[in-house]
């Protein structure tokens, strides 16, 4: 379990996925009244962690890669399929709130996993 600290890596990936998704949801909510804005979303954590649905996609993993905006807001954000209102805006505040709650729970879960793994590690080192 703690040989190469995989638990921590997974918890870290989960928390940072939640953070990225939160940024995208905030962007959707802020633009809820912008004409022509299309709401964005990220694939869920499972598929983004295991690398599903990225087959055949080229990924920029370094800054010097072509089109490589490494710090960009999630490389794999996709436009959500939902019905746009007459002004071309496809954000639904209700859906965004639902997603925001999901994200918050995912983040809390990741932190809980991290914390309890940390506790186990501390105990096994004989500290309190």
């Amino acid at each position: 379990m703690f040989e190469n600290l995989d638990v921590f890596k997974i918890a870290h990936a989960m928390a940072s996925h939640a953070g990225q998704r939160q940024a995208i949801i905030s962007q959707n909510v802020a633009n809820a009244d912008t004409p022509g804005f299309k709401s964005l979303d990220l694939p869920d954590f499972k598929s983004s962690y295991t690398g599903e649905n990225q087959t055949g996609l080229q990924k920029a993993t370094r800054d010097k890669h072509l089109h490589g905006t490494h710090s960009g807001i999630a490389l794999n954000a996709f436009e959500e399929k939902s019905i746009a209102s007459p002004d071309g805006n496809s954000v639904s505040i209700e859906t965004e709130m639902l997603k925001a709650t999901e994200v918050s729970r995912q983040h809390n879960r990741a932190l809980a996993i991290y914390k309890s793994s940390l506790n186990i590690l501390h105990k096994s080192l004989g500290r309190r």
Binding site: S16, Q22, S26, Q27, V29, N31, N108
Partner: protein, 130 residues
């Protein structure tokens, strides 16, 4: 910029834009009886900032509503012309109030996102505090 600060930035831009919209709405409502007043409308624009790569929202140019002004019949009014009419404003209180309610709703949504991001990041900080 971390995802949390991006999120806070974009939520703040939403709050600002909605507050600006509400400001123009209250201007319209308070001038509902001003002769010759045309209602102001603001358009929201999404902009990719130079510092961040999130699409924060901002209010664009203020536009004046070009619809006909209301003709009010009142011969005793100082602005009345030969037929006894003068130009009122083209503010429709019902529309302004509905718009204000929508602005309030969107403001609350942005506020909730801000609050939630803050909670998530303080949860992260709690990991350091043992």
């Amino acid at each position: 910029m971390t995802d949390f600060s991006k999120s806070l930035t974009v939520a703040t831009s939403g709050l600002k834009a909605q507050a600006m919209r509400l400001r123009h709405l209250s201007e319209n409502i308070s001038n509902a009886d001003t002769p010759g007043y045309r209602r102001k409308t603001v358009q929201f624009e999404s902009e990719f900032g130079t510092r961040s790569d999130v699409a924060s929202v901002s209010t664009g140019k203020v536009n004046l509503d070009r619809t006909e002004l209301e003709r009010i019949y009142d011969p005793s009014h100082p602005l009345a012309d030969d037929t006894g009419h003068f130009d009122g404003s083209n503010v429709n209180l019902l529309i302004e109030l509905a718009d204000a309610r929508e602005a309030q709703r969107s403001y609350e949504a942005n506020l909730k996102m801000f609050e939630q991001t803050r909670k998530m990041s303080s949860g992260l900080m709690d990991l350091l505090r043992r």
